[in-house]
């Protein structure tokens, strides 16, 4: 029976569910053409995908599409975590989009279909076992976003943002592909595990300049996706021009996707002594530049965008410990990977809560506005402002946002275990800079409103759409629960 593979469909179930969601959404939109039905189908599909991922993940690791010992699809604990988180983020973002969709600001069917397609990419990404699956999954995640960013009708900023995002992203993909091709040229392998085995077996391959170039190009391409400095310039413009929920998706699911891809190649394929220094440098630059520029932002979404650039730096930081020999022991390495995943999970929950808070405090379909537009919001909407405040404080890493505090603690701990005290200090000092702008937004929420401001400055009363409230409440409760019991995430990420 040569040439015929046995395919383990159970392992593929989450991917089937996600892709099926996209198809069903398209059909529902064609046949029923009712906005609410389309949204409901998309939401149920996303929920089903999350449940499916968790159920399959509970059953232990499953592999399929194998050639010998190398498999292209490895669905283990971390893949299940990524798939479930991406699906839930999609569900949350869909909920945040409801007011704008019902107000007719964007075509519902296309919007939900593209979102479901992007989710499919994210679900596949976590399980990818070779470079081609990985890059295709990453593109499936990103491709629909070019359109989604530009989908706000009649908005020039939106179209500009989409174009910027498209051009930068295509360049990044080209670089990633180039890196993958060069690696294939050097080693003759594409499977992640096989690459690392080959490079370990034949040390002379690692001495080749071509290998170093391949590693660097591959990493740089992926760094674009997580918006790491110096490949970050697209992010603020794109986030600010995109509809709010799409910005939320970009800064959570899309960023998580980039991180997972980066982690997959760093952890499983590439030699740590070559990736470590690059990652350490990227991390330091990313968090420092992100934080410093965020200090000067006046527009809420731009501020969140720059802050999420900085947060990407914290996510990359534990991987920077690989730069030193002490960080390359088996134990320190797995601690570093687990710390990066842990931080990413805490971050996406808080970031989603923050975007949900901003959405809830802004009129339906509006953009993020300026920080001054949120002034005094707590007087009119104490609960929504409190939820947003909690998310921002969590992103800053302070109590009562315990989830964010534990996220920072995890990163610092992993760095010190890996002997990278200098990087831990950089992370710590960056947290201080970060507090300055998170505090500015948070304080604005509770600031007294300007005396007479009929249209300029000050938060007006905003009716709350039920779905947005639910998303905000669920994200906030998740942040609080993870803050009290961070061990849940630590256990999952360590597997």
């Amino acid at each position: 029976m040569t040439g015929v593979q046995s395919v383990d469909s159970v392992a593929l179930l989450p991917a089937y569910l996600a892709a099926g969601t996209a198809v069903l959404v398209l059909l529902t939109d064609l046949l029923l053409a009712r906005a609410r039905a389309t949204i409901a189908v998309a939401a149920l599909g996303a929920l089903g995908t999350a449940v499916g991922a968790v159920l399959v993940g509970l059953g232990g690791e499953r592999r399929t599409f194998c050639v010998g010992a190398d498999c292209s699809w490895i669905f283990g604990g971390r893949a299940a975590l990524v798939a479930a988180v991406v699906a839930l983020l999609t569900l949350g973002v869909l909920g945040l989009s409801v007011p704008a969709l019902l107000a007719g600001r964007s075509p519902v069917g296309e919007y939900a279909f593209l979102l479901a397609c992007s989710m499919t990419g994210g679900v596949v990404l976590g399980a990818a076992g070779d470079l081609i699956t990985l890059i295709v999954a990453l593109e499936t995640l990103t491709l629909p976003l070019y359109v989604l960013v530009g989908l706000r009708r009649g908005s020039l900023a939106s179209a500009e943002a989409a174009l910027t995002f498209f051009v930068v992203s295509v360049v990044a993909t080209t670089l990633t592909l180039l890196g993958a091709a060069l690696l294939y040229a050097v080693t003759g392998g594409l499977h992640l595990d096989r690459l690392s085995a080959l490079l370990a077996e034949r040390p002379e391959l690692r001495e080749l300049p071509l290998t170093t170039a391949a590693v660097a190009v591959l990493l740089v391409g992926l760094a674009f996706k997580v918006a790491a400095v110096p490949f970050h310039a697209w992010a603020p413009a794109t986030y600010d021009g995109a509809p709010l929920p799409v910005a939320a998706y970009l800064s959570t699911a899309s960023k998580l996707g980039g991180l997972v891809a980066l982690l997959a190649v760093v952890q499983r394929a590439l030699p740590a002594d070559q990736t470590g220094p690059v990652l350490a440098l990227l991390a330091v630059l990313t968090m420092t530049v992100g934080n410093l520029v965020a200090l000067r932002q006046r527009r809420t979404v731009r501020l969140l965008a720059w802050s999420s650039v900085a947060q990407a730096g914290y996510i990359l930081a534990p991987l920077g410990a690989l730069a030193l020999a002490a960080g390359r022991t088996e134990e320190a390495r797995s601690a570093a990977y687990a710390a990066a995943v842990t931080y990413a999970v805490f971050f996406v929950v808080l970031e989603l809560a923050a975007f949900a808070g901003v959405t809830a405090l802004r009129p339906a379909g509006a953009d993020g506005g300026t920080v001054d537009d949120l002034r005094g919001a707590a007087r009119r909407h104490p609960w929504r402002a409190a939820a947003l405040g909690l998310a921002l404080v969590g992103l800053a890493g302070l109590p009562p946002g315990l989830a964010g505090l534990f996220a920072k603690v995890t990163v610092v701990r992993a760095l010190l275990d890996g002997g990278a005290a200098w990087l831990a200090l950089v992370v710590a000092l960056n947290a201080v800079i970060g507090l300055a702008y998170y505090l500015r937004v948070t304080a604005a929420l509770w600031a007294p409103t300007p005396l007479a401001a009929p249209n300029g400055g000050g938060a007006a009363a905003v009716p709350l759409v039920g779905v947005v409230a639910v998303v905000l409440a669920v994200a906030t409760v998740a942040a609080v629960v993870l803050g009290v019991a961070p061990q849940l995430v630590l256990d999952l990420a360590g597997r």
Binding site: V393, L398, P399, P400, L405, F406, K408, V409, T410, V412, R413, L416, D417, A421, A424, L425, A428, L429, A431, V432, L435, A436, L439, A443, W446, A485, P486, Q487, L490, D491, G494
Partner: protein, 502 residues
């Protein structure tokens, strides 16, 4: 759970639940009353912690250096070495009671007067949250838990300053938050340097160094000492303090000066010195020099201050300098001086800020040049101010004396040219302290009443007396019977010095 464990949990749970109850009570005055009752219950739970548990550890060679009277140890986040480990002993108990008392007095004071800026309900809730953070810091016997509680205090205190403070409150509050966070992130790194090297975060196991290498201990002590130096604050990291104290509302200043600063000195003794004794021995001369610099600079700046709250704020820099000098000597006498100096400063400076707030509320100004002749129009207020100022300058028989005198004595006892000089300079600083407090008194109480003072009535409100009298009595009691603090602290300090110089 034993009775002691129930008390430990109650000390933290009562103010935490109290804050929730205050936030949930719709009517402002009723909410403030609920908060005051919660603060009173916290004090009631804190005082009996002193009973029982002692003598339970017979002295032996392998007994740990930290021997809590009561402790509670539950797992929380094993992946981060975080355990919910609380305990109380002679070093922490006086500070726990002081915190509970000052918070109660502040809540009671808020029953009578709410500063401008926001609702009294929110202020009381925030005061209770701050209390949870401070008490947790004093009770934590797990380094990570200690760090966690250390952080809890930051934002509520920021909100108190930014919400109810003076004209320049936002800048002062932001400065406070950023400085303090700078300190606590260093604390975080320091804590995990220790945890990564020793494999545990248990303070009981770690005290004495737990076999950490010299390099690790020096690094850990440097980071931890810097963190606590910001909080205490130690010159030259003190510049957040005058702004924060001046701009904060009266109750905020009282809590800030009274107990918040003690988190730094307490942490220095319990965590920095205890966990990295070799680092402490190595750094003690530097610490001593900085402490004396703080005393002298604080006093000199005070001599030139024109604002009454700012003067008291800078006087804290000087007083905490004495406390840090006591710690830096690393002797039994020095540490005891530090502990009693801590408590005395909390009581006296708390009282001083209450009185300065009362003067400012009545006259509408805090500028010294516009205040004179208070004893003509408000003799009782002027008398109390004189009492507090004299207690603060260290008159024998009042609480301020012991900490300052014994810090100097400890420095001289250590001997050698450096420490003798430091002792002498600190004594000069003590004289300067007397000079600026007497200047304050001459300016405010004597001469003919200024226009601002002329309109002040002689009466004192009942709430004011309720808040002040306990502090006056405590200042007298500690001054006459320092054994109140030193009695309980003697054994743990001896044990600590025992591991610093094995």
């Amino acid at each position: 759970m034993s009775f002691g464990q129930v008390l430990l949990v109650a000390v933290l749970a009562v103010p935490a639940l109290g804050a929730v109850a205050v936030a949930a009570t719709p009517r402002d005055r009723a909410a403030r009353l609920v908060g005051t009752v919660a603060a009173a219950l916290t004090l009631l739970a804190a005082v009996p912690l002193v009973f029982g548990g002692r003598g339970w550890f017979a002295w032996s060679a392998d007994a740990p250096a930290v021997r809590p009277w009561h402790q509670l140890d539950l797992p929380w986040v094993p992946g981060l070495e975080l355990r919910f480990h609380l305990g109380v002993d002679g070093i922490s108990w006086p500070l726990v009671v002081l915190t509970a008392l000052l918070t109660l007095l502040c809540c009671a004071y808020t029953m009578w007067r709410v500063p401008d800026g926001g609702s009294g309900r929110a202020l009381v809730a925030l005061l209770l949250v701050v209390e949870v953070g401070i008490l947790g810091t004093f009770l934590a016997l797990d380094l990570v838990l200690f760090f966690l509680f250390f952080e809890v205090v930051l934002l509520p205190m920021y909100a108190i300053i930014a919400g109810w403070g003076g004209a320049d409150r936002r800048r002062a509050a932001r400065k406070f938050a950023l400085y303090t966070l700078f300190g606590s992130v260093l604390l975080l790194v320091g804590v995990y340097v220790v945890v990564a090297a020793a494999g545990t975060a248990d303070v009981v196991a770690l005290t004495g160094g737990a076999g950490m290498s010299r390099g690790t201990q020096l690094a850990a002590f440097t980071l931890l000492a810097l963190a606590f130096a910001v909080k205490s604050p130690l010159w030259p990291l003190h510049s957040w303090l005058p702004d924060a104290h001046t701009q904060a509302p009266t109750v905020g200043s009282v809590v800030l000066a009274g107990v918040l600063l003690k988190m730094g000195t307490y942490g220095l003794i319990r965590v920095a010195v205890g966990v990295a004794p070799e680092g402490a021995r190595w750094a003690s001369p530097v610490l001593g020099v900085l402490a004396v610099a703080a005393i002298l600079i604080g006093s000199l700046v005070c001599l030139a201050q024109a604002d009454v709250k700012r003067l008291i704020a800078y006087s804290s820099v000087g007083h905490m300098g004495f406390v840090l000098l006591g710690v830096a000597t690393l002797t039994t006498v020095g540490l005891q001086a530090a502990l009693i100096g801590n408590v005395a400063h909390g009581v006296i400076t708390g009282l001083l800020f209450f009185l300065a707030g009362a003067v400012k509320d009545r006259t509408g100004t805090g500028t010294l040049a516009e205040l004179s002749g208070l004893r003509e129009t408000a003799p009782r207020l002027a008398g109390l101010l004189a009492f507090a100022a004299i207690a603060s300058l260290g008159l024998p028989g009042l609480a301020g004396f012991w900490g300052e005198a014994f810090a100097v004595i400890a420095a001289v006892q250590v001997g050698g040219p450096l420490w003798t000089t430091l002792g002498v300079l600190a004594a000069v600083g003590g004289a300067l302290t007397a000079a600026y407090f007497l200047r304050l008194l001459r300016q405010v109480t004597h001469n003919r009443p200024s226009p601002a003072v002329g309109q002040v009535g002689p009466g004192l409100a009942g709430a004011e007396l309720t808040a002040w009298v306990p502090l006056v009595l405590l200042a007298l009691a500690i001054g006459l019977a320092p054994a109140l603090v030193l009695g309980v602290a003697e054994a743990p300090v001896d044990a600590l010095i025992g591991v610093v110089f094995p």
